[in-house]
């Protein structure tokens, strides 16, 4: 019986109560025909013929005519319901209440404008508070990021921006933590537009309550602003073009004076743009700067009257170009040598460690150096994965990190340390890679052998795979580009993107008059089962009273 289990407690209760009810019905229907009567003349009865003591007669209507049966049935049903409905609660209506939590945006963009948006927000928060007090409600003013606003510290703005998700989290936490009032409304005063789908989860324990929708008040007016949105990097092309650093800018409104964009290199030298940058316009803008070596670049956009928090970028370039290629002797003079020379400079030196060796792989040889090794001649059957086709443009987006997680194979036996990572649908292209300090790639030779014409479009798949293999063994997957907004001290800033505020304010504010007391239908809830239990006990008491009164009558009858 150790494996005996029930689907749930309610099923067990149902079974028990059902059995009791059946027993109750049988007891009422089954009446003995033997009368229990105490008569003085019984001792003078002669030796009567014995009758069956267990003779019974069934009275199917007897339970319905007995009030005791109905009382017992009521008590049982109440007990069962109390077990089954222990999660059901009764909503307790309360008097209308009003509690408003006023959250004022303290992010850097609130400093814009004259008077500043922060000053306007404080005035609006004061109006809301006065309205709440007039209605007899309670209120509290907090700052976003969530800190209680103390006197004298009202102009202190946060250093970083604030994302909508973080804002929602902070508002919910503020409602949870502050139990000094029954909060019915949340009023947010900010210069940002209302984030879509912003709803605050009900307080813990407030089962059945709907999420609270904050009232969103926008303050401030439009401010002409320029912002550095981000940066990009374009490596040197195969056609000999230089590596480029591109900066994305956005502009809104007429600037109050001429803006200036200065980009400095890793050694502090000012880098001139590839083309002149015109910052007087309105809208998105891209500025391109030639770069020749990795390092940290700084971009500073100076303007007056705008929101300067988003005007500084730190751009870290991980690598500009890969290692030089050292050709094996068997590849000299082949078309592949010319192609490799277009990717990276070709150098001599079969024993150097700072180069990418490009050579032919011979079965059974040990591959120890960094390099790309081509398998020429017959190969084993590759396992077609089918995730890209040889003509698919997706092949250009070949990601070696992704391919590494797959396990095709192109050779019957790979050297130690190599993993077959990818294969084309037709098995013509595959890669076997080895990580570590000396990364290496084994891949098939171009279709047609080492002397094939690589300018043939049919070789495009192989070329892309070769370039990826070179990137793997030369750059070793360094992070190419990292862009961070920083302040004047060079400290990184978070969520500045939400503070650019280029084309606002919408100004669709709700009316303060809309803040009215609320009747909480489900504010306080009490469980229902104690009432059922009380009813069951009362029914049992009445039943006992009637049963005791009728006890004597039953015996006599």
């Amino acid at each position: 019986m150790t494996g005996l289990s029930f689907l749930g407690g309610s099923y067990l209760a149902l079974a028990v109560v059902g059995l009791i009810i059946v027993a109750l019905l049988v007891r009422y229907m089954r009446r003995s025909t033997v009368r229990q009567v105490d008569l003085s003349s019984l001792r003078f009865l002669p030796e009567l013929s014995p009758a069956t003591k267990k003779r019974t007669r069934w009275q199917f209507a007897a339970p319905l005519a007995s009030p005791l049966f109905w009382l017992r049935l009521l008590a049982l049903l109440c007990l069962f319901s109390a077990l089954l409905l222990d999660g059901v609660t009764l909503a307790k209506r309360e008097a209308p209440t009003l509690g408003v939590l006023i959250a004022v945006d303290q992010t850097p963009s609130m400093a814009a404008g004259a008077p500043s948006r922060a000053q306007q927000a404080r005035a609006l928060a004061g109006d809301i508070a006065n309205h709440v007090v007039a209605l007899g409600g309670c209120w509290r003013q907090v700052a976003l990021p969530f800190t209680p606003i103390a006197e004298g510290a009202r102009d202190q703005l946060a250093r970083d921006g604030l994302s909508p998700i973080e804002m929602e989290t902070l508002l919910t936490a503020s409602l949870e933590q502050d139990s000094s009032c029954l909060w019915t409304h949340v009023a947010v005063v900010s210069d940002l537009p209302r984030p879509p789908l912003l709803a605050l989860a009900p307080k813990a324990g407030g089962k059945g309550q709907a999420p609270m929708m904050p009232l969103w008040f926008e303050v401030g007016g439009t401010v002409a602003n320029r912002a550095l949105l981000g940066a990009g990097f374009k490596a040197a092309g195969l056609q000999g073009d230089d590596a480029r650093l591109t900066l994305s800018l956005a502009a809104y409104g007429a600037p109050q004076d001429d803006a200036d964009l200065v980009v400095t290199g890793p050694d502090g030298e000012t880098i001139a743009p590839a083309e002149p940058v015109d910052l007087s316009g309105d809208g998105p803008l891209v500025a391109s700067y030639p770069v020749s070596r990795p390092g940290v670049y700084h971009a500073v956009l100076s303007e007056a009257g705008g929101i300067e928090i988003d005007n500084r970028l730190d751009i870290t370039l991980g690598a500009i170009a890969g290692l030089p290629i050292a050709l094996g002797a068997s590849l000299s003079g082949r078309p592949i040598a010319a192609f490799a020379g277009r990717i990276a400079p070709l150098v001599e030196g079969a024993d150097r460690d700072d180069v990418v060796h490009l050579d032919v792989y011979r079965g059974g040889q040990d591959v120890t150096r960094r390099g790309i090794y081509l398998v020429d001649g017959p190969q084993g059957d590759a396992t077609p994965l089918g995730y890209f086709d040889s003509t698919s443009p997706l092949l250009e987006a070949l990601d070696l990190d992704l391919l590494e997680a797959l396990h095709p194979h192109g050779l019957d036996r790979l050297p130690q340390g190599f993993e077959a990572v990818a294969s084309g649908a037709d098995g013509s292209i595959w890669l076997a890679t080895r990580g570590g300090p000396d990364p290496a790639v084994i891949m098939p030779a171009p279709t047609g052998g080492l002397g094939a014409d690589l300018s043939d479009p049919a070789q495009l798949t192989w070329l892309v795979a070769f370039i990826n293999a070179y990137r793997l063994v030369s750059n070793d997957r360094q992070q190419l580009l990292a862009v961070t907004h920083v302040n004047e001290a060079g400290e990184p800033l978070r969520d500045v993107a939400f503070e650019s505020n280029l084309a606002k304010v919408a100004g669709h504010n709700p009316s303060i008059v809309d803040i009215q007391p609320v009747v909480h239908a489900g504010g306080t809830e009490e469980p229902f089962w104690p009432w059922l239990l009380l009813l069951a006990v009362m029914a049992l008491c009445v039943e006992r009273f009637l049963a005791l009164r009728r006890g004597g009558e039953r015996r006599a009858a």
Binding site: V34, D38, S40, S41, L42, R549
Partner: protein, 325 residues
């Protein structure tokens, strides 16, 4: 604890019944048991003319000189002083207790106690002594089974007596202690009323017979009130399967029995034989037999009225109370 239900009689009705009973009998009737008569005592009654045989010491010379003739003498006559006692003996066997404490029923023991209470009230009004006793209870000591009361004590003593009888454990069939000691001390001018159902058998019946015999010894009077419940119970039993229960169960008789008409007829004969045995003993003389048919044992509402009418009839038939002589 079982308590006696209220007596169907109120005191005023009992007084009416007593007066009716007194009017129904002549002073010198043989059945008038409790009456005053002429006798020797210090209680002056009247003057009357001297007759031959009167004690000359009772001649009132002064009165004779004032009112009598020359040879007429007046003598003082006195009331006779006798102490009368009414003893009520209750049969408290198991058959008398049947139905005791059950709702919707009146037991024969309760009816007997009601009779005791009513007789006690009348005795109080008549300035008589009354004693209450039971046949079975107190078998260990014969003295405590008789409760004497006089005057205002009757209510208190009856309450104690009824509580004792109602809550006593019923004595077995062969139980009961002889009442020779208790009845032998009764005064000469006593009347003993027995309240029984004639269902005692064996040794219990012998105890009853001895008690009746003692009660009528020395020309004392005894009244046996037979509480007959058989017709009512017979109607209840007709064509039903009954459990013999506590009363009917004896050795070899256990379980349930179907009371058919044939078997009820056999029961009729058995009970008739039982009654005849009692009646033979009673009819030897000095005993007044008062049968009382209990028709409403299972209907308390009708039982009150039945008791009232039954008690009147019993009082008339028993000739207990007459006018003062």
């Amino acid at each position: 604890m079982i308590r006696l239900r209220p007596n169907p009689f109120d005191p005023a009705t009992l007084e009416d019944i007593r007066l009716q009973a007194q009017k129904s009998f002549v002073t010198a009737g043989t059945g008038a048991l409790l009456r005053r008569k002429l006798g020797q005592s210090l209680d002056y009654r009247e003057h009357r003319a001297y007759a031959f045989g009167d004690d000359v010491r009772h001649i009132d010379w002064r009165a004779s000189l004032r009112h009598g003739g020359k040879e007429d003498y007046l003598v003082r006559s006195f009331e006779a002083e006798e102490r009368f006692l009414l003893l009520v003996v209750i049969d408290d066997s198991a058959t008398m207790r049947a139905g005791l404490g059950e709702a919707g029923r009146v037991s024969k023991l309760e009816i007997a106690l009601w009779i005791c209470e009513a007789l006690g009230h009348i005795a109080t009004r008549q300035a008589l002594d009354i004693a209450l006793a039971c046949l079975d209870h107190g078998r260990e000591g014969a003295d405590d089974r008789i409760v004497f009361a006089h005057g205002r004590q009757i209510e208190e003593q009856f309450a104690r007596f009824s509580e004792m009888v109602l809550n006593a454990f019923p004595v077995e069939e062969d139980g009961g202690a002889p009442m020779a000691g208790a009845l032998g001390r009764l005064p000469q001018s006593s009347v003993t009323v027995f309240l029984t159902d004639f269902y005692r058998t064996g040794d219990a019946k012998v105890v009853f017979e001895e008690a009746v015999s003692l009660a009528r010894r020395g020309y004392r009077q005894a009244v046996v009130c037979e509480l007959d419940s058989w017709p009512t119970e017979r109607a209840i039993l007709a064509e039903t399967v009954v459990s013999l229960g506590r009363i009917g169960k004896t050795k070899g008789r256990d379980g349930s029995f179907l009371a058919t008409s044939h078997e009820l007829a056999l029961a009729d004969d058995a009970i008739a034989a039982q009654r005849s045995g009692y009646l033979d003993m009673i009819h030897q003389g000095g005993v007044i037999h008062c049968p009382w048919a209990l028709s409403a044992l299972f209907d308390p509402a009708a039982g009150d009225e039945a008791f009232r009418s039954g008690f009147r009839e019993f009082l008339l038939r028993s000739e207990l109370f007459g006018r003062t002589g």
